[in-house]
């Protein structure tokens, strides 16, 4: 492929979860907000952190860390909610920190090593390399299936 009109780069918003850097396509991101009060919803599914007030609208906030097998987040001054659109819904995902908006060349993306992917946790669509950094490409559609789908805990 050469010179075609198609994007040869991925335009990503990247954020930190533990010590890793994750990226989602910028097109999927509506905005990034600071964490204000998140209200827990009794007996909500395990991956739901709660709900928050987004200018008068109720925004569900997803604990993406537990979906990726990490411990629930501790909220710090750097914590942010990335407001994304997935399956026609608007959701917030809670991240440890937003890192940057960046472009990575498509050809730098490789699939994750098969040994570290298990069924039910294949939310990483690929790994992008930019200089010395590794950015995990998070597939939100898989990590956050439509409502009424049973989630594995």
């Amino acid at each position: 492929m050469s010179g075609g009109g198609f994007a040869r780069e991925l335009h990503l918003l990247t954020f930190a979860l533990d010590r890793e850097e994750y990226g989602v396509p910028v097109g999927q991101v509506r905005e990034v907000i600071r964490v204000s009060e998140i209200t827990r919803v009794p007996h909500a599914p395990a991956h739901v952190r709660g709900v928050t007030n987004l200018r008068g609208r109720i925004l569900p906030v997803v604990e993406i860390r537990t979906r990726l097998g990490l411990q629930p987040a501790a909220i710090t001054g750097r914590s942010r909610i990335v407001v994304v659109e997935v399956h026609d819904r608007v959701l917030g995902i809670l991240v440890d920190a937003v890192l940057q908006v960046t472009k990575v060349p498509l050809e730098s993306v490789t699939p994750p090593p098969a040994e570290v992917v298990s069924p039910g946790s294949d939310f990483i669509g690929g790994v992008a390399r930019a200089s010395s950094r590794l950015v995990m490409l998070l597939e939100l559609e898989k990590a956050l299936p439509p409502p009424d789908t049973e989630l594995s805990p």
Binding site: P42, V51, G56, R89
Partner: protein, 550 residues
């Protein structure tokens, strides 16, 4: 004129808005007429007023080029005229029944106009009318070719039509949403003001600010009332369909049933009304099928052959109470108990209210023949679910051998709910006032235990008490004993829920639950409090359905 043409669409919408209610009133009127004739009751100009409506429907249908509806209205007009003459042939089951059939067909025709369809059967019906006219004495009004002015039937138009505008209901929803944001922002201003005032803020200006805030609060209240009022429709828009539907059900069951409706002018939010018709029809259907006895059985029991269903609505302090009473055989509590035991329920010490409430349990609808014999049970859990989904309650009273009354208690609106705000482990919750029986300061010595479960004496009754934190899964036991308990009540059940603080009453604007949140039990919605925080609205009915945790 093409059917998908925008202008035509709009005209059709206008046609429907004007003619569908008229057609429905005509159809109901014919049912009523049939009943009065059967009973020899006074007709009181009923036929004349119906003729006026028919005339309007006929004229509008002609204008829209809806030939079948026009012909049908015309035939019904003629038939009405024939049956309304002095010394008209007494219907003998013929004329009046024909009117009823035609009325139903007319509603179908008008409704079908929206889809540009034709349910047919009009020609057949018109032929029946002609045959009927030929059978009876020579008509004074020649069928099919009437000219000149009509005497007793002025054209009927909806009242005050000149002052009525049509508004897409979605606009009213949008208005409500903006109002909701305004209310939330207003409470935010109030909270901020209080903080400033507590710090002993800026001298005399604080008084001005205080007055401005109070004035604004009054204005917001008025705005809320006005917006709510635009959303209200009389409950007769739902009741209106029942006489005809009921007649069909009764007919298919070979029973005779009369529906007496009152309080049709009682108003409710359209959003509530839209979801009320189905459960009510379900209850009516049940009453006819299982409650009202066969005519023979009724006569043997010394009752009139014809069963009576009474449907009434009334406003009561911001809520609407609907009563549906039948004069049928009543609930058989012995059979309900047997059924409950076969389902493994422990009902040994249940009081009569609890026993009757069993008929709303899901298992009862499908379990066995018994519920059929007992008279009720088919799908009542679904009815109860719909009513609770509207923030309402449903209860049943029974007079063995004399009938059953269902009492529905519904909120006027789904949009704003007066609530008690409570705090449990630093989390705030809204509890609808309609589900709060009382709030009580906790006396540690009054909290007792049975089988490891909390109970307390309240108004002379032993009621279960649950810890709010355990119930809502806040995690961790409270460091200090909780200072209050809220007695929640719904469907005859009560329970105390221990909480840390009572934060006062507030009209909260109900926001839905995003489906991402699953279907959390105990929570019916969310709201935004004055400080901008989101609070969950608790659903007492669901909490009361749960076991009391040890």
């Amino acid at each position: 004129m093409r059917r998908d043409d925008g202008v035509f669409r709009e005209l059709i919408d206008d046609y429907l808005v004007e003619c569908l209610p008229l057609a429905e009133r005509v159809a109901d009127g014919f049912v009523e007429l049939e009943r009065r004739r059967r009973e020899g009751a006074s007709e009181d100009g009923l036929l004349a007023s119906l003729q006026g409506m028919l005339h309007t429907v006929k004229g509008n249908s002609a204008m829209m080029g809806l030939a079948p509806a026009q012909e049908l209205a015309h035939a019904l007009e003629d038939l009405s005229a024939l049956l309304g003459r002095d010394g008209a042939p007494e219907s003998e089951g013929g004329g009046a029944a024909l009117l009823v059939a035609g009325g139903g067909l007319l509603v179908e025709q008008v409704r079908a106009a929206a889809e540009g369809g034709d349910p047919g059967r009009t020609a057949e019906f018109v032929a029946q009318v002609h045959a009927f006219a030929a059978r009876t004495s020579e008509p004074t009004v020649p069928l099919g070719r009437r000219g000149g002015e009509r005497r007793s039937a002025p054209e009927t138009r909806p009242e005050g039509a000149a002052n009525v505008v049509r508004v897409d209901f979605r606009r009213l929803d949008a208005m409500l949403e903006v109002l909701g944001e305004g209310l939330i922002e207003h409470s935010a201003v109030v909270e901020a003001f209080r903080r400033v005032a507590r710090r002993g803020g800026a001298g005399e200006e604080i008084g001005d600010l205080d007055r401005a805030i109070v004035a604004m609060e009054k204005t917001m209240k008025r705005l809320e009332a006005v917006v709510m009022e635009t959303r209200l429709l009389p409950i007769s828009t739902v009741f209106g369909r029942f006489p005809r539907q009921l007649r069909d059900i009764a007919h298919s069951q070979r029973k005779r049933v009369r529906l007496v409706v009152s309080g049709g002018e009682t108003s409710l939010d359209k959003a509530v009304l839209d979801r009320l018709g189905e459960p009510l029809l379900h209850l009516l259907n049940n009453a006819v099928v299982h409650g009202i006895e066969d005519p023979d059985e009724r006569l043997r029991a010394g009752k009139p052959e014809e069963g009576t269903l009474e449907l009434s609505a009334a406003s009561q302090s911001g809520r609407v109470i609907i009563h549906l009473t039948d004069d049928g055989r009543g609930l058989d509590e012995t059979k309900i108990l047997a059924e409950a035991e076969s389902l493994g329920l422990d009902v040994r010490s249940a009081d009569p209210a609890r026993i009757r409430a069993l008929i709303f349990l899901p298992g009862f609808s499908t379990a066995a023949q018994v519920s059929q014999l007992a008279g009720r049970g088919v799908g009542l859990d679904v009815v109860a679910g719909s009513i609770r989904g509207l923030g309402g309650t449903i209860e049943v009273e029974s007079r063995p051998g004399r009938g059953v009354t269902f009492v529905l208690d519904l909120p006027l609106t789904l949009a704003v709910v007066r609530s008690l705000i409570v705090e449990v482990d630093r989390e705030r919750y809204a509890v609808p006032i309609s589900q709060v029986a009382e709030t009580v300061r906790t006396e540690p010595e009054a909290m007792r235990q049975i089988n490891g479960r909390g109970v307390t004496l309240w108004r002379g009754d032993l009621i279960p008490v649950s810890d709010g934190g355990a119930l809502l899964g806040t995690g961790g036991r409270p460091a200090a004993p909780r200072r209050f308990f809220v007695v929640i009540s719904s469907g005859g059940r009560r329970r105390g829920v221990l909480v840390d603080r009572l934060m006062g009453h507030q009209d909260v604007v109900v926001k839905g639950l995003d489906r991402t949140l699953g279907r959390p039990e105990m929570v019916s919605g969310t709201t935004i409090l004055g400080d901008g925080r989101v609070a969950c609205i608790l659903d007492a009915a669901r909490i009361l359905e749960r076991e009391v945790p040890a």
